[in-house]
Symmetry: none
Subunit: 89 residues, 4 copies
DNA sequence: GTGGTCTAGACCACC
DNA sequence: GTGGTCTAGACCACT
């Protein structure tokens, strides 16, 4: 059921992909944004959901989301959630 | 103050060089696993403890642990520690 | 499935509003401290556990814990947890 | 002996200063760089030393150092240490 | 009930 | 023996 990023040394989701879990999670979420699965200006799932989905720790999820925020793909609103970046404020 | 590797070998041999330290450390830890001092499926002490206990460098400890892992005696879980191999759960 | 606060009060009272939940939770926890269920200088369960146990929101739990802290019954250590107050070490 | 940043709810080093430990540590180190205590192109102490000096966790120290790196005040060399930024590479 | 900060401590990669 | 990444889980601030 879960979309495992990796099962820790058992398998990697993509052997040609990013080296670290943080970067792998970021890559998956980046793809979801670019594909429109997470549409502009819409909220993305909370941290807790990614923790469960990918089976990684909260800091790893947060590090991945920080990458996407640095890239300008998402914005964070404390207490409200994270949103896909889009035209206008 | 520190317990040198040679202490654990009961002063039986002199240290001829760092390349032997690795095997000596591995031998000590292997004995602890086989004696049950480190029981199956239990975590073994962290790298840092062996560094201090044996007075050797981190790469030496890691090389010794890699030997035991190659032998299938321990398994490694990043961020969690190393565990003595045992019956599957 | 969840243990409601009212269960812990033995259904003695009805809930007239959320402002009372805080005091009820505080009263339950106060009783646990005084009875020794939560012994001095020991950590009490984390916020999340009380949220689940009592079926109340995080702010309600935190407000209840703040009461106990004001009363000097518990102390808070960020990143570590809350502890029952007791003789100094 | 230690230059405490704060003793966790007991006192803050500067009540008008930064709100978070991370920012407080960053501010102290920033001041040392600007004062010349940590001169340009010289190595600054390792993470472990700041952990001990300030009595904070490793992630907090790293977060503080990340701020200074973002500001361009220090550069990081894996396996070698962190250095105060200075003219020329 | 979200994200924000912090603690503690593990193993990893590199020098 | 440095910095890099990761785990696990606590409390905090805000909505």
């Amino acid at each position: 059921m879960k979309a495992q990023v990796s099962d820790y040394c058992y398998m990697a989701i993509d052997l040609d992909g990013p080296e670290f879990l943080r970067d792998q999670v970021a890559a998956i979420l980046r793809a979801r944004i670019e594909s429109g699965e997470y549409p502009p200006r819409r909220r993305i799932p909370p941290e807790a959901e990614f923790i469960e989905e990918f089976g990684v720790s909260r800091p790893t999820v947060r590090a991945a989301l920080a990458i996407l925020e640095d890239e300008g793909r998402i914005v964070t609103r404390r207490g409200k959630g994270r949103f896909v970046a889009g035209a206008e404020s």
